[in-house]
């Protein structure tokens, strides 16, 4: 029995987590700046989330199509992609490979597309929990864990079968 209980004070954790290489959050927002999905892989206080989201969205919405999809934001980076009226914004730490995240976002949308067959904003709004399952399947703990479409969808299809049966 190891009794030296290692405690890391939460505040410090948050701070130190900033130097990890990881995805900090995934956001889905529409052109009006309304959040459609948010997933944080690092604890952010609720009160700060709204402000952060608004700011992040503003950052991305103001960019033109001919501008690149990476934005340096405070001490981390944003990678975003626009799909029709929907933006997917991923906050990553400085050391994360932007392109791989950029490709991941597309992969994510392809998976959504496959599951919802031509996904739309409404699909995401009305099936938030399912979108979360897909996202959790792909990103865990701020790291990419699965990119194979059918493997990502396997639990969800099983779940749907369970609900039907």
């Amino acid at each position: 029995m190891v009794s030296g209980v290692n405690s890391v004070v939460p505040v410090l954790c948050f701070r130190a987590a900033a130097d990890q290489r990881m995805i900090k959050f995934v956001l889905m927002v529409n052109r009006q700046g309304q959040t459609r999905l948010s997933r944080y892989y690092q604890p952010v206080e609720l009160s700060r989330r709204a402000a952060l989201e608004a700011d992040v969205v503003r950052c991305c919405l103001t960019r033109k199509k001919d501008q690149c999809s990476f934005v340096e934001y405070k001490d981390f980076k944003l990678v975003y992609r626009q799909y029709a009226a929907l933006y997917i914004v991923v906050g990553v730490t400085d050391t994360e490979n932007e392109l791989s995240i950029y490709e991941l976002v597309h992969n994510f949308v392809e998976v959504l597309d496959k599951y919802f067959s031509r996904v739309s904003e409404l699909d995401i709004m009305f099936n938030l929990d399912r979108v979360h399952i897909i996202l959790d399947e792909m990103i865990q703990n701020g790291h990419i864990v699965e990119t194979n479409k059918s493997r990502i969808l396997a639990p969800l299809t099983a779940l749907d079968k369970m609900a039907d049966g």
């Binding site: 290692n6 410090l12 950029y102 009305f126 779940l159």
Partner: protein, 1151 residues
């Protein structure tokens, strides 16, 4: 039963589901907030219902609302409820909500431990998955420690989905929160690298990559494995991770770099995935591959392709990577200057900014002027102000980098209208001051041209600098009066405040100069006119809204008025006025102030004199402009003057300053300018004045002497040089051209002036730079563990299926741990830290406990028991003889079991004497085949009359058990809460079945009316053994002690004193004899077993406090003398107090 279900589904039909909520929000665009608040009210109603479906639905909606930014932390308990639903569809919703809303400080997390453990070991892989996902989001150090072993078991689980997730999330997060688990877990993690399943493999790579990034040396041994993976894997995401890992490893093992270079180059050549290419290039750049210039060239070539690509993203990344190469191989990047300059024309601002960054590094003496010229063109074209500002800053940075080393022609530099750095330059190189001053005077004269158009974009900052230069070096001005006039134009009032302040200040300096120049004149009209001009114009500034301007202006106005009076009396004032601004400026290193060592015996926080009233007025001087060279008064020209002379002069000047009422505001060169904290001005900053060689970190001493020497020589030549200036310039341009072709020409370019780059001043004994200081709080530090050492016994993961919460609290345990720690060499670094942490941890626990309820205490007492069974009751030996029949039947089995010593000990709450037949509080004792232990009892804080009892059922027999029903014979006081519609004697169905050897947990809520008395409840458990289809029955007793109703609540001593003073409390006391243990152990024991917290402790006397779930205060005063302990207690409920004291007494009678 069936009716209930129907009822539930009807309820649900009328409830809003998530879809309705979303729709509703969309339909109430105008009054969204109002709509949502009604929804929240509905949700609160729904949460109150017993139907889990309704609750899940409500929680689902809450998750959505949480996303919209509404606080749903009040529903945390309900979320836990939904999480513990046995139906996956609901459980999933609960976990999703938890993962979104819970964080480390959410107190109910403590309640989830068993639920998560159960789900982790669930045969349903989706349960496991959802639990893992959730856990990754809200894992706490406690959860990490308690669940580490479960997770490790899962890692070797046959199911691939589970394994994959396990390794990733848990391991990494668990390691972070509970570093002790890393060593035991590492071999398994290593195995997973070679797992046939790509998902698992990539997960393991992920984890190790993250671990290795922080403590790479521990993972060097894995390099061959990764090398194999890298050459065989086809998954780009995994490859990227592996390459990143190698990036971390190579600095430690140079040979690895050589080996890697080939596969990396191959990848760079072959891959079509840009992200992989980018990663390879990045690694090659970052790694220690300097030996092969070829690979760098290849990278640069590839990056060029990226930059030339039409895809903006690639272009951006190309530039980003390029700037990294620039740091190590500037030459190879410089050849692509054309491309980078092209990027400046890009439509995308972020690309232009990247290109600018690159340019900064590409500047050389040769191309500086060309680049700046290009940039200036861009400044003209730039549309956005931010970009324009950035451009300007970059130009300045470029020019000033490395102490202006690339600037060969300062006239050129100063004449750039946008360069707000002249103060720096002109302070450093007085040779060009004359020129600068002339330039600036013209600039000021034409300021009206600038102000109109430039105000909005910060270019007027240059006026700030110009004014300062003109004032400071006014002796070089050809026509100071004219400049003075220009500075006092009414238009100036439209400038930003800080510029006006400088204007006013420097107007005074100019005024002094004018007076001085007029001194000799017999005709004093000019002087008097100047005074009049000042008096006329200054009131404009006195009215300024900017405080600093106002203050300076009014001071100077008064001064000038006084001077005017003196003038009218024909007193010679010029000498004195000029003395106000005496002093020479010398560049000071940016960090100089910080490095002044604090002399011994100096307390910076103590007031030496009474607090200064207005000494800070000048602190507001915007420092941005002086960032590089801070003006300081010191006299480098007097290097040769000996120390004594210097000291004498300094003394004299101090005297002068002391006598001068205007000193404080007199000049920006005052000592006080850069001191922010009040009271600091008494530090002997004078040290900086010493013109002896100063230590500059990073520069060899000889270097400094050379520079100093140069400086000195230069001073002697100063006059001569000025005359030769023109000649030299011609010469230079000629030579410059000649050498431009040669690559090594840079060193040969002769600057326009023999301007030496002055070593920035640093105080003596400047402390060495401590930039590389590592963050002591870095959680990764804890993971710096040698993984190759064999495991010690003490390191085994706590194999415990229950919470191991407070083990270290036991004093005996503490001792063990310490000795274990000393034995274990790998802990040598961490030991001390951990000891400290332990203390912290304890504090934290206590605070957690207060919010969580009784649960923790229960589990802790259990562990305590396990550890020192002799001092406590061992209940399973007290198998009740009630079921003789069964006992006979399974006697053999039971013996075996005892030998093995069950994992699930029956715990109880301290109280009744050891040998009692009844089962202790919260302990259910049972026969084979189903030993049951009550695991914990949680008081519900929201509801002072509810207690949750969690029971762990463990099947110890070989048969499958099903249809378990749990029933308790209610007493008047305590009742088992049964679902609506069931009778008072109906049993509750345990919502699971038990395969052999499996344990599971169920919760039962009890309503307790009065908590002042301990209670025992009798109960039965019925179940069917599948094989024999026999109906079996087990009796047990539940013991609710009074202490179990107490909640550890911290209390401050003042609140405690107030409580005692209030007089509402009734007293009682108890004496314990023959207690043979240190006082702090005694206290720990009371805290630990009886949920008290220590309020204050003085020597052998301590006050303690606790609170019951119904809000009774319990205060103790514990005193010890010899082996006698006396406890005086006060409580607003005497019966409760009496029982608690009895229980305490019993605890100590055991030891």
């Amino acid at each position: 039963m069936a009716l209930k279900i129907v009822k539930g589904s009807i309820d649900r039909m009328f409830d809003k589901n998530l879809q309705d909520l979303v729709r509703g929000i969309r339909n109430h665009k105008e009054d969204e907030a109002k709509y949502i608040s009604t929804c929240i009210d509905e949700i609160k109603q729904e949460l109150k219902q017993d139907n889990i479906a309704v609750k899940a639905n409500a929680v689902c909606k809450l998750t959505y609302l949480q996303m919209l930014g509404y606080d749903v932390s009040w529903a945390a308990f309900n979320i836990v409820e939904v999480m513990s639903s046995s139906k996956f569809t609901y459980k999933r919703i609960g976990y999703l909500a938890a993962s979104q809303c819970f964080h480390e400080s959410t107190d109910v997390i403590m309640l989830t431990t068993n639920q998560i453990r159960k789900d982790l070991s669930s045969p349903n892989q989706y349960d496991t998955g959802v639990a893992l996902t959730g856990l990754s989001c809200f894992v706490t150090p406690d959860l990490a420690r308690d669940l580490a072993n479960d997770i490790m078991t899962l890692v070797s689980h046959g199911d691939c989905v589970k394994r994959k997730r396990c390794s990733v999330l848990i391991m990494y997060k668990v390691f972070l929160k509970y570093p002790e688990s890393l060593r035991p877990a590492f071999p398994r993690l290593k195995e997973k690298l070679e797992d046939p399943d790509p998902g698992v493999q990539s997960a393991a790579v992920n984890v190790i990559c993250e671990l290795a990034r922080r403590n790479p040396k521990n993972y060097l041994s894995l390099a061959p494995l990764f090398f194999k993976l890298m050459t065989s894997s086809t998954n780009n995401w995994v490859l990227i991770k592996i390459i990143k890992l190698f990036g971390a490893l190579t600095p430690l093992e140079p040979r690895l770099g050589k080996k890697l270079i080939e596969p990396l180059t191959n990848l760079i050549h072959s891959t079509s995935a840009m992200s992989l290419l980018y990663e390879c290039v990045n690694t090659v750049i970052a790694g220690q591959y300097c030996s092969s210039v070829g690979s760098v060239v290849l990278c640069v070539q590839k990056l060029r392709i990226l930059i030339e690509d039409s895809d903006q993203n690639l272009k951006y990344l190309g530039l980003l990577a390029m700037s990294k190469i620039l740091k190590t191989h500037p030459k190879s990047v410089q050849s692509h200057k054309d491309l980078i300059l092209q990027c400046l024309d890009d439509k995308d601002e972020s690309i232009r900014l990247r290109a600018l960054d690159l340019l900064y590094g590409m500047v050389s003496k040769k191309n500086l002027m060309e680049i700046v010229k290009k940039l200036m063109l861009h400044v003209d074209k730039a549309e956005g102000t931010t970009y324009r500002d950035e451009l300007l800053t970059k130009i300045i940075d470029i020019c000033s980098q490395s102490n202006y080393q690339y600037i060969t022609n300062f006239e050129w530099s100063v004449s750039q209208p946008v360069t707000p750095h002249p103060p720096g330059i002109s302070v450093s190189w007085w040779t060009i001051r004359v020129f600068a001053v002339a330039q600036m005077a013209t600039l000021l004269d034409n300021a009206h041209l600038l102000t109109g158009s430039m105000q909005r974009n910060g270019i007027c900052e240059v006026l700030y600098a110009a004014a300062w230069i003109c004032g400071e070096f006014s002796e070089h001005l050809e026509n100071p009066l004219q400049t003075l006039e220009a500075m006092l134009r009414p238009k100036v009032a439209t400038l930003p405040g800080h510029i006006q302040a400088v204007y006013v200040q420097n107007a005074a300096k100019l005024f002094a100069t004018v007076l001085k120049s007029q001194e000799g004149n017999t005709d004093s009209t000019t002087a008097q006119e100047t005074s009049q001009l000042m008096i006329d114009r200054l009131p404009l500034f006195v009215q300024s809204a900017n405080l600093e301007v106002q203050e300076r202006a009014s001071c100077i106005l008064q001064l000038v008025k006084y001077i005017q009076k003196l003038q009218q009396k024909d007193v010679e004032v010029a000498e004195e006025v000029i003395a106000l601004f005496a002093g020479e400026l010398n560049p000071v290193a940016p960090k100089a102030q910080k490095k002044v060592p604090v002399p011994e015996g100096l307390d910076l926080d103590a007031w030496i004199n009474e607090p200064p009233s207005e000494s800070e007025s000048e602190d507001e001087q915007p420092k941005a402009i002086f960032a590089k060279e801070e003006p300081k008064h010191s006299r480098p020209r007097h290097t040769e003057v000996d120390e004594k002379e210097l000291a004498r002069r300094r003394e004299a000047r101090k005297q002068e300053q002391a006598n001068n009422p205007f000193y404080i505001k007199a000049s920006p060169s005052s000592q006080k300018v850069y001191q922010d904290a009040p009271g600091v001005e008494h530090i002997p900053v004078v040290q900086i004045d010493l013109s002896v060689p100063l230590k500059v970190p990073g520069l060899p001493m000889s270097d400094q002497y050379v520079k100093l020497e140069e400086e000195r020589r230069q001073k002697e030549r100063a006059e001569k040089k000025k005359k030769e200036k023109k000649k030299r310039k011609e010469k230079r341009s000629g030579r410059g051209k000649k050498h431009d072709s040669g690559p090594e020409s840079e060193e040969d370019i002769t600057p326009a002036h023999m301007v030496d780059i002055v070593t920035e001043e640093m105080p003596e004994n400047a402390l060495p730079s401590d930039d590389d200081d590592k963050d002591p709080n870095d959680p990764h530090k804890a993971l710096d563990i040698d993984l190759d050492k064999p495991l010690a016994d003490s390191e085994k993961l706590p194999v415990r299926s229950h919470r191991a919460a407070e083990a270290p609290k036991s004093p005996a345990e503490d001792g063990d741990a310490e000795s274990a720690a000393t034995q274990e060499p790998k802990k040598k670094s961490g030991k001390e830290k951990r000891e400290k942490k332990k203390d912290k941890d304890r504090d934290r626990k206590v605070s957690l406990k207060c919010s969580v309820s009784l649960q923790i205490q229960f589990s802790t007492s259990r562990i305590f028991n396990e550890l020192s069974p002799s001092s406590f009751w061992v209940f399973n030996e007290k198998k009740s003889s009630k079921h003789k029949k069964k006992k006979q039947k399974k006697e053999k089995e039971e013996k075996e079991k005892k030998k093995k010593k069950k994992k699930h000990h029956h715990h109880h709450h301290h109280s009744d004497g050891g040998g009692e037949e009844s089962v202790q509080n919260g302990t259910v004792e049972e026969e084979e085949p189903l030993p049951v232990s009550v695991y914990d009892i949680q008081g519900n804080l929201q509801d002072g009359s509810q207690v949750v009892v969690s029971v762990i059922f463990e099947n110890k027999c070989d048969s499958f058990l099903k249809s378990m029903e749990f029933n308790v014979l209610d007493s008047l006081n305590s009742k088992l809460q049964r679902p609506e519609g069931s009778g008072p004697h109906d049993g509750l169905t345990v919502p699971f079945q038990l395969p052999p050897g499996v344990s599971n947990e169920a919760r039962f809520v009890f309503t307790v009316q009065s908590i002042v008395m301990p209670q025992k409840l009798k109960g039965t458990l019925t179940f069917i053994v599948k094989d024999s289809s026999t109906h079996e029955k087990l009796d047990f007793k539940l013991h609710f002690t009074c202490t179990s109703y107490l909640i550890t609540t911290p209390c401050y001593s003042d609140a405690f004193a107030k409580l005692l003073e209030s007089g509402d409390l009734k007293g009682s006391s108890v004496r314990l004899e023959g207690v043979n243990m240190p006082f702090h152990h005694l206290l720990a024991r009371i805290c630990f077993h009886h949920h008290f917290s220590v309020v204050e402790r003085i020597d052998s006397c301590a006050s303690m406090y606790s609170r019951s779930i119904q809000g009774h205060h319990v205060c103790l005063l514990v005193k010890t003398s010899g082996q006698t302990v006396s406890i005086d207690a006060k409580c607003d409920e005497p019966t409760l107090l009496g029982n608690v004291l009895d229980e305490i007494k019993q605890t100590f009678s055991q030891c």
